[in-house]
Each structure stands twice: as structure tokens, then as C-alpha cells.
């Protein structure tokens, strides 16, 4: 069932269009990530959903209630949407307890939910502190508890982890994920961090230039990006021009089966295929048939090694990125052969030069 939906949403600031026809559905109980580079309009989208900005056109529904449709505009206080902004925005003049209680009626404050929420976010013993006595991660968790206290239909989180340092980010992220699961609340998370989106969300909607480019589970997005740009945006990708027919792609890295969703044609046609770095295999020397070249860069990460291999100029192919086991670290300059394994995704080659 759909909890939150936006249809044909437009928003411009002056002459600057920011949202250009957003279509978004957020399934009940899911954690949906809106992923996009800065300037793509993701924060504006969130602010429009919350009611802080009014859209120029389009419909927003919350459950079976229409909250905005061109004529109707419910102000934020009537939407029942929880909001967790980037830096928490705790009220500095109130304690943790009174921050969490802010949106509650006198009656609701006495039903024990404040201490329950404080426990849930792991701050049961800090309930009488002021925001400036908390660390950034703790402030963020109080902000989440405050948003959940009003039992919102949806919680919107606006890059809630970006102001935390890297060490803290992972643990706060895990805490927030757990709390949202426990509360069973539908949540929308805006982020520019693809790791965050892929690891936390049930559904990821990629926003590009004011439109939703693709929506799906993290796995669908990673394995079946709609176009080469999407492939490069989500994870690393080698995009290789080659020719495909109805079943296979004949690439310099070998002949590879096509994944479902690929372009399929009866006679060989120019195409672009996506080969993820983890599909690429690197062989020292020229012992196997494949694309020969030289290692130009090698980064050792412990669990794996990322190498860039420059194929011989005669192949006409740019540098190939490969992710291999940590044990295989070849220094730059080493002569190697590269091959690929597994199925690949292919799109028609629209550059037209082949």
C-alpha cells in the first residue's frame, strides 16, 4: 500500500525550476531513500512534502488524504509528517525531555511515550540535559525521537547524517535504522551518499535534475540501471562500446551473455555495455586470451584492491577499472591481460560513431 505519493510535482524559485514533474510513491512501512547529487532538488522535494514550501503544481497524498493539489494546501502543522532536519534543530531552550514532548498535548505527555522514545534512541539517562550538552549523534537521535513522538504517518529525514563525522556516522545510521524499524514508521531519507542509500533503504529513488530518474530496490538499481549515466552514478562502472546480438555482447574482454532488460537485436548492432569492476579479472602477463594492457594505478584496500588498467592503444578502449581480491596487488607498469565474467547489461549505442 502506498503511504505517501507525489504526482507531477513542479516547483521553481523565481525563474529557476527545481522540481520538474516529480513522480514518487513511498510504500507503507518502507524506508525510501531519495538519492541525488547536490543541486538535484532533493531537499526542495522534501520541504515541499513537509509543507515548508508550496509546490507550483502537482498533487501530494498522504495515505488516502490529499494534502496539496494546486488549490488545497495543508500547512505543515496539519500534515502529521515527522521531520528530522540536517543538523537536528533541537530547541536550544528546552531539555531533551521537553524537546521530545514539544508536539504532544498535555494528556499525551503523561502516557509514558517520552521515556519510551528516549529509551528507544538510547538516551534514557540524558532526558534532563540541554541540547548543547549532547554530542552531534545524540542530538540527531533526540531529533528522531521528537519526530516520532507525534506518531507521524511518515518521517522525513533530510541528510540527517551528513553533519556527523565519518566514525560516528555508521553507528548513528545503524541506530536510526533500528529505531525506524522498531517503530514501524514509513520513512523518507534524503541523501547524496550512495552507500547510505544502498545499505539502509528498502527502496531507492534517484533524483536527477528535478525528476526521478529511476526507482527500485537497491539491488535492482545496481544491477539494472536505466541508462549509462545511472550506471555510473550508482557505483563504479566500466562502459564499453561493442556490438551485441540477440544473446551475447562481443566485447574486447570476451563474449559475455546479456542480462535481462538489455537491448536485444537479431543482427549485430553497436551498443554500450556495463561491466562492473568486480566482474573484471586481471591476469599477470599474457597467459590468457583477452585484452592486454598495463596497470596504471593500484589502490590496496585490504579486503580488495582497485586497479586501473590502460589497454593497448590499438584496442581503442579507455582505462578499465577492476576490483579484485586483496591478495592480488600488481604495481603500476605491470603488463596484464583483462577479461570479464558474468552477464552484462547493454543499451543501444546512441553516440552513433560506430
Amino acid at each position: 500500500m502506498t503511504r505517501l505519493a507525489a504526482t507531477d510535482l513542479y516547483k521553481a524559485f523565481g525563474s529557476q525550476p527545481v522540481l520538474k514533474g516529480i513522480e514518487l510513491t513511498v510504500p507503507e512501512g518502507s524506508l525510501t531513500a531519495i538519492l541525488g547529487p547536490s543541486g538535484s532538488g532533493k531537499t526542495t522535494l522534501l520541504r515541499v512534502l513537509a509543507g515548508f514550501e508550496r509546490s507550483d503544481r502537482g498533487v501530494i497524498t498522504l495515505g488516502d488524504r490529499v494534502v496539496e493539489d494546486g488549490r488545497l494546501f495543508l500547512p505543515p502543522e496539519e500534515r502529521g509528517i515527522g521531520y528530522v532536519p540536517q543538523e537536528g534543530a533541537l530547541f536550544p531552550h528546552l531539555t531533551v525531555k521537553r524537546n521530545i514532548a514539544f508536539g504532544l498535548s498535555r494528556h499525551q505527555r503523561r502516557d509514558g511515550r517520552i521515556s519510551r522514545l528516549a529509551e528507544m534512541v538510547g538516551l534514557g539517562d540524558m532526558i534532563d540535559r540541554y541540547p548543547h550538552q549532547l554530542s552531534g549523534g545524540q542530538q540527531q537521535r533526540v531529533a528522531l525521537a521528537r519526530a516520532l513522538a507525534i506518531q507521524p504517518e511518515v518521517v522525513l529525514l533530510d541528510e540527517p547524517f551528513s553533519s556527523l563525522d565519518a566514525g560516528l556516522r555508521a553507528s548513528v545510521r545503524a541506530d536510526v535504522h533500528r529505531v525506524l524499524r522498531e517503530a514501524g514508521t514509513t520513512a523518507v531519507l534524503v541523501t547524496h551518499d550512495q552507500d547510505e542509500a544502498l545499505s539502509m533503504a528498502d527502496v531507492v529513488a534517484v533524483i536527477r535534475d528535478g525528476r526521478i530518474g529511476q526507482t527500485g530496490t537497491p539491488q535492482e538499481l545496481y544491477e539494472h540501471p536505466v541508462d549509462p549515466a545511472m550506471a555510473e552514478f550508482l557505483g563504479d562502472a566500466n562502459l564499453i562500446s561493442c556490438s551485441v546480438d540477440s544473446a551475447v555482447a562481443s566485447t574486447p574482454l570476451g563474449t559475455l551473455p546479456l542480462r535481462s532488460g538489455s537491448v536485444r537485436v537479431a543482427r549485430p548492432t553497436a551498443a554500450v555495455v556495463m561491466v562492473r569492476p568486480e566482474q573484471v579479472e586481471v591476469w599477470p602477463g599474457g597467459s590468457v586470451p583477452g585484452l592486454t594492457g598495463r596497470v596504471i594505478e593500484s589502490q590496496f584496500h585490504g579486503h580488495d584492491t582497485v586497479m586501473r588498467v590502460l589497454p593497448d592503444p590499438s584496442s581503442g578502449i579507455g582505462a578499465i577499472m577492476a576490483r579484485t581480491d586483496g591478495g592480488l596487488a600488481l604495481s603500476p607498469g605491470t603488463e596484464v591481460t583483462v577479461t570479464a565474467r558474468g552477464a552484462v547489461l547493454a543499451w543501444p549505442d546512441e553516440s552513433g560513431d560506430r
Binding site: 513537509a50 509543507g51 515548508f52 514550501e53 500547512p75 502543522e77 496539519e78 536550544p92 531552550h93
Partner: protein, 537 residues
């Protein structure tokens, strides 16, 4: 006192007209807020309107007769040359003192930082009382220049010191690395960074000089303000007073405009986020002793002489002329009562204007806010005169009653209140108001539960500033004081003009104590507020 703190913040006001991105929740201008703000602005420009109405009644032919005579030329010459010399001297002393205190390894910087500022809490007329009571021969241009420079240089010191404190040390370091020597770095980078603050300080100094009455009267130096006072209160010629007041207001407007132009071109900015970085202080080396001697001399002249004179006269009069405790406490009571009422009025009036200008910027709002700053060009005497004119013609029952005096104070010191309230409204993050909306609060509830709580320090500061300024106000108090009442300032004045210095001293002392102690406490209290500590979360 009061003017001092405007000094610190005036640059902020001028720069705050940049329009920030305003969320839609705030974009629709609440009509109630606009209406109240418009009412406030209307009351504030009333004195100017009354002045023009009165001038119109007097008629141009009579005005020109009054204005185009030798007296006016003399007054203009006196006023302008004094303003120029004192402003320049204050700029040099204030800037130099600020640089030494903030940027060098001057021994005892913390102590000097206090001693250099304290003179601003002593009313100018008490400073000149101190000097003249010790050396009765001190008067005329030289005396006025000396005394006024010592009384007003902190108006430059305060904003410039604040600007040095906030300046980006990186810029100086980059200049040095690009091959500029110490002196050229100081001139091209350090001073350039402080330029807007120096200009702001100079504006306040020259406006203060235009408005000053008591000090010049004691020093027997004739300016527009002293002459207006004489025409009105001694010669009883309101028409002449009105004509001269027009010229005075014109001078003030010229200053405001000139400042606007100078500031428009002098934009100081810093790149990158505000970093609180400790800079290594400049080493004074062999210059230490002469600089210390200079600070000692400054403290002696600006602080030692007036306070010493007060002390001397207190001790002198101790046995014989100590005023009856009743008279002293009655005067103090009146001072405090009028000042507190004015402070409350000005603060309450400043809140809607500040909310409107920060949260709903736009052309209408800017016009509204700018019109309230016109008050800066209106010296106390002009405000008092036009309120008298208003009372005589429209509300005789108010003449020489307390509401009129309170209104005059509130109008006179409104810019102070606005600056303080505005700064704290601007500091309260709009994100918190949105948050409250998302948690289910209606706009008016948000105002009560969030915005007002966040701006409380600003409201308190505004109240204190206006209160402290009103306690030490003399000029308009002399004109508007309710019949039969006396304040500390008017009692002091009565005894001083009768040359009963020993009898005057207790009143001045009490005034200084009332002004100095709360401002010190205010400063300390500010630094401990949790709201302040957490400000933009």
C-alpha cells in the same frame, strides 16, 4: 552608554539588508505584523512631521529671516569644525587603542579593554563637569575638543575592537606571505577589514556631537543644540528654535546619507566559514613602554579626571551639603521609573519591526525599517521640541506629564532596542520555527513557544540598553520633565548650573553607578545563557 552599543552593532544593521532565502512558511506577510510595525514607524517619524508642520506654520519668510543671519553661520562653523576635529581624533584614538588591545601583546590587555570602554558609561555632561570643576578656565573650542574626544572615543573603539576580534587572521597572513611588510599589511588589510566599523563609529560620534547639550553648556561652547535650547527655554522663541532644529536635522540626515554611501562601497567580508582561530599577537617589543604610557595617560584623562573630580566633590561636600537622602532617592526613583517604562515601550515596539524585517524581507519591509532609522538623525532636543509642539496643539493635558517624557525616551532610543532585538531574531534559526510547525503548532503558537523564547536575551538586552541610556539622558528630560518631579540628571543639572559642584556630585555618582554596574552584569549574564551557547545548532 547607549550609543556605545549601537556602535558595536550598526555595521550589522547596514549589512543585514541582504535578503536571505526565506522559506515559504514565512513568505506570506502576516497582516497584523505589518499593521503594528507600520504604526510603530509612524510614531517614530512623528517628531519629524511635527517639526515640518511647525516650520510650515512659522512660514518661510520668517524662517529665512531667522536662519540667514550671522548667528547661524557662527553656529554652523562651531558645530562643523568641532564635529570634524573630534570625529577625526576619536577615530585615531579609538582605532589605535582597539588595535593595541586586540592585536598585540600589550601587557594587561584585559584590564585596558575595560578601562578604555568605561568612559562611555559616564554621561558627557558629567565628564565636562569633572574637567570644568577642576579647571574653570577650560572652555571654548579647545576645551570642548579635549573633553568631547575623551568622552566619545569609545564609540569608535567598541565597533573597531569587535571587528578586529572577528577579522579573519588568514587575510593578514596571506598578505605577509605575498610580500607585504608589517606596515603595508596593516594599512591595506587590517585597516581595510575594520573600515566599515570605523565608519560606523565615526557616524555615532558625529551624531552624538550634534545632539550634545549639557557638556557644551558647561564648557560655554555654542552649537546648534545649545542655541536651540536657549531660544526655546530662555528666550521663549519657539519659531527660532524650530528653524535651527531644521538645520540640525538636515546635518544629521547628511551624515546618515554620507555614511550610507561610504559603507555601500566598503564591504568587508570574509571567505569561508567563521573560524575561531587564535592568532599570535603582534609583538610590541621596544614600543611596549611608550604604548603603556599612552594607555595610562588616556585612562587618566578619560576616566581618572571625571571620576576623581566626582570623588573630590563628594568628599568635599560630605559634611555640609550632602543632599537629604530623601531628595536623592526620590530623584533616583523618578529616573528609574521613567526609564523602565520607556525601555519596556521601546522593546515591545521593536519586536514586531524586527520580526518583520528579519523574517519577511522585501521592499515594503525595508522601507519600514529604514524609516525607523531616521530617528538617528533626530537629536533629543528636536524630539522634545516637537513633542511639546504636539502637546500644546493636540493634547494639552499631556504637556509636562510623564507619558510625554516616556514617549520621548522611547522614540529617542528606539534604534538601540531595534538593533538588539533584530540581532537576536536574526540569530534564531528559522529551522526551529519550521520544526515547531511540523510538530503541529500554529504560527501564533510558534511565536510564543519558540521565537519569543529564543529572542529573550535580545529583549532583555534591548530593555537594559534603553534603560541605561534614558537614566543618563539630560537634554529632552530638561524640557519634558513633569511638573514637580526631578530626576538624577535634572537635579545634577540644577546644582551644576548654580555652581554647587559638591551638591551636584552625589547625583552624578549615582547615575554613573546605575549605568555602569548593570551593564557589567548584563555582559556577564549574556555569556552564560544556554541559548547563546547552543545558538545555531
Amino acid at each position: 552608554m547607549a550609543r556605545a552599543t549601537v556602535a558595536v552593532t550598526v555595521p550589522t544593521v547596514a549589512e543585514a539588508t541582504r535578503t536571505p532565502e526565506v522559506p515559504a512558511v514565512h513568505r506570506r506577510r502576516p497582516r497584523a505584523l505589518v499593521a503594528v510595525s507600520a504604526l510603530v514607524a509612524a510614531v517614530l517619524v512623528l517628531p519629524l512631521v511635527f517639526l515640518l508642520v511647525q516650520a510650515h506654520q512659522v512660514g518661510w519668510s520668517q524662517l529665512s529671516m531667522l536662519l540667514f543671519r550671522r548667528l547661524t553661520a557662527n553656529l554652523l562653523w562651531n558645530t562643523v569644525r568641532l564635529s570634524v576635529v573630534v570625529t577625526l581624533a576619536s577615530a585615531v584614538i579609538g582605532t589605535a587603542a582597539a588595535w593595541f588591545v586586540e592585536m598585540t601583546d600589550l601587557p594587561g590587555r584585559r584590564v585596558w579593554a575595560v578601562l578604555v570602554v568605561v568612559p562611555v558609561a559616564i554621561p558627557d555632561f558629567v565628564v565636562s563637569f569633572g574637567w570644568v570643576s577642576i579647571d574653570p578656565s577650560l572652555h571654548g573650542f579647545v576645551g570642548a575638543t579635549l573633553v568631547m574626544t575623551l568622552a566619545v572615543y569609545p564609540l569608535v573603539y567598541l565597533p573597531v575592537a569587535a571587528s578586529f576580534r572577528g577579522a579573519d587572521p588568514g587575510q593578514e597572513e596571506v598578505a605577509r606571505s605575498l610580500g607585504l611588510g608589517r606596515t603595508r599589511t596593516f594599512l591595506r588589510v587590517t585597516l581595510a577589514q575594520a573600515r566599515s566599523a570605523v565608519l560606523g563609529g565615526c557616524l555615532l560620534v558625529s551624531l552624538a556631537l550634534l545632539a550634545e547639550y549639557g557638556a557644551f553648556e558647561i564648557l560655554r561652547y555654542q552649537t546648534f543644540t545649545t542655541e536651540i535650547f536657549t531660544e526655546f527655554n530662555v528666550v521663549f522663541d519657539p519659531a527660532a528654535a524650530c528653524g535651527l532644529a531644521l538645520v540640525l536635522v538636515l546635518l544629521g540626515l547628511v551624515l546618515l546619507t554620507a555614511d550610507g554611501f561610504a559603507r555601500g562601497r566598503a564591504r568587508t567580508s570574509r571567505s569561508g566559514p567563521q573560524v575561531a582561530r587564535v592568532r599570535p599577537p603582534h609583538r610590541l617589543g621596544r614600543a611596549t613602554m611608550p604604548v603603556l604610557a599612552g594607555f595610562g595617560l588616556l585612562a587618566l584623562l578619560a576616566l581618572g579626571v571625571p571620576l576623581g573630580a566626582l570623588f573630590y566633590w563628594l568628599v568635599q561636600g560630605g559634611r555640609t551639603t550632602l543632599p537629604a537622602a530623601a531628595s536623592l532617592s526620590s530623584a533616583a526613583w523618578h529616573s528609574a521609573g521613567y526609564s523602565a517604562a520607556a525601555a519596556a515601550l521601546a522593546t515591545v515596539a521593536a519586536l514586531p519591526v524586527a520580526l518583520l524585517s528579519v523574517r519577511h524581507p522585501g521592499r515594503t519591509t525595508m522601507m519600514l525599517e529604514r524609516s525607523t532609522f531616521l530617528v538617528l538623525a533626530l537629536p533629543g532636543i528636536v524630539i522634545a521640541l516637537s513633542l511639546v509642539y504636539f502637546a500644546e496643539h493636540a493634547a494639552p493635558s499631556l504637556y509636562q506629564r510623564s507619558p510625554l517624557l516616556i514617549l520621548a525616551y522611547a522614540i529617542l532610543f528606539f534604534p538601540l532596542a531595534l538593533v538588539a532585538v533584530r540581532a537576536s531574531v536574526a540569530q534564531a534559526p528559522t529551522g526551529l520555527e519550521e520544526m515547531a510547525r511540523a510538530l503541529g503548532c500554529r504560527p501564533w503558537t510558534v511565536l510564543w513557544r519558540v521565537t519569543l523564547r529564543l529572542v529573550t536575551p535580545g529583549l532583555a538586552a534591548a530593555f537594559c540598553l534603553v534603560f541605561l541610556s534614558a537614566v543618563t539622558e539630560l537634554t529632552s528630560t530638561l524640557i519634558l520633565i513633569p511638573t514637580g518631579a526631578q530626576t538624577l540628571a535634572t537635579q545634577f543639572w540644577a546644582f551644576t548650573t548654580a555652581q554647587s559642584y559638591a551638591a551636584a556630585a552625589p547625583y552624578a555618582t549615582l547615575m554613573v553607578v546605575i549605568a555602569v554596574i548593570p551593564s557589567y552584569l548584563l555582559g556577564r549574564w549574556f555569556n552564560r545563557l544556554p541559548v547563546k551557547a547552543a545558538a545555531p545548532t
